[in-house]
């Protein structure tokens, strides 16, 4: 696993380490802005987002150096920082995969840039009683593992309460018996169990959730395209 990268910007050498959760979430937030700017074709916002992205792990990077640095150095630095901060072995975490069913579930009416990070912190703080500083000091992959357990516990609790409720059972007129109607779990939780391999393959849109994907082209070695 790569833990640090070096890059040069405008004659200054920078060496940065892989970000812990706090900075990782900030990088994700900036990347959301970058994706939006690219989508809208807003060149100024693209350049500003690139600066914000590079300045997050490089606090001593000043605006003047950035603006005068050769553009290809900036692109290379962005690419290096992005690669460094990709969650290791992300394809092993079911929750980081995006499925057909939840492709529309990302946006809510009260959404705002960076809300994803707030949700992560909120869930971890609620479950473990940690401070924001403690949470921000986790490695991103640790946070993902803990969040999966939080969601899993929550699903079990919901299922238990649901089983006690009469809405969980429907009357089958043919057999004149009540039949249990299972509570639907998020697609990532049924990965490899209730879903067949074919169903799983069909339902997967991408290997990773969109907000965890690096911006730009992803070429997979095993891709047949």
């Amino acid at each position: 696993m790569v833990e640090r990268v070096e890059f040069s910007l405008g004659g200054n050498d920078h060496e940065i380490e892989r970000s812990r959760l706090g900075k990782h979430l900030t990088l994700n937030k900036v990347r959301e802005c970058l994706v939006k700017a690219v989508k809208e074709g807003d060149g100024g916002a693209i350049a500003d987002s690139l600066f914000e992205y590079l300045a997050t792990p490089t606090p001593n990077l000043d605006r003047r150096t950035y603006e005068s640095a050769p553009w290809f150095e900036i692109i290379m630095a962005f690419s290096a920082v992005q690669d460094l901060n990709t969650i290791p072995l992300a394809d092993q975490y079911a929750i980081l995969q995006q499925y057909e069913d939840d492709k529309k579930s990302d946006a809510v009416p009260w959404d705002y840039p960076g809300r994803g990070g707030v949700v992560w912190r909120h869930l971890l703080a609620s479950s473990y009683g940690w401070s924001i500083e403690e949470i921000d000091n986790l490695w991103p992959e640790q946070a993902v593992e803990l969040l999966m357990e939080i969601f899993s516990d929550d699903a079990d609790d919901r299922e238990f309460a649901y089983r006690l409720s009469e809405v969980a059972y429907e009357f089958d007129k043919a057999t004149k018996k009540s039949r249990y109607r299972p509570l639907k779990r998020p697609p990532w939780m049924v990965l490899g169990s209730e879903m067949t391999k074919e169903e799983r393959k069909k339902s997967i849109l991408t290997d990773l959730r969109r907000d965890f994907l690096p911006v730009g082209e992803i070429v997979r070695a095993d891709s047949d395209q």
């Binding site: 603006e67 005068s68 553009w71 690419s79």
Partner: protein, 106 residues
């Protein structure tokens, strides 16, 4: 070019990035760019040169007034040598301005 100028150039090249990387050689790449600009908006050629040569478009027009087509072509090529076309295309993909070749290619 500054990053702001480069981003504008990448935006102009993004729609044809998949075609450019499939071209066999540099002149073919430039031809794809010029054909696209001629089809979409002929002023884009001047604009991209203005960005690459860091000159105001009026100044550039005055400079190019007595320039022949081959000279103009070589100026454009030189612009893409100084500001590597390969790096610009890579930047387009890194920033997510274009998608995979297999999805957008012919």
């Amino acid at each position: 070019m500054t990053i702001r100028e480069a981003v504008e150039v990448m935006k102009m090249l993004a729609p044809i990035a998949p075609k450019i990387i499939q071209a066999d050689n540099a002149p073919a790449m430039i031809r794809i760019i010029m054909d696209h600009f001629a089809e979409v908006d002929p002023t884009l050629t001047l604009r991209i040169m203005s960005l690459m040569y860091h000159e105001h478009i009026d100044t550039l027009v005055a400079t190019l007034e007595d320039t022949s087509s081959p000279e103009f072509f070589s100026m454009l090529v030189e612009g893409f040598v100084v500001n590597s076309l390969a790096d610009l295309i890579e930047g387009i993909y890194v920033l997510g301005m274009a998608r995979k070749v297999a999805e957008n290619g012919d």
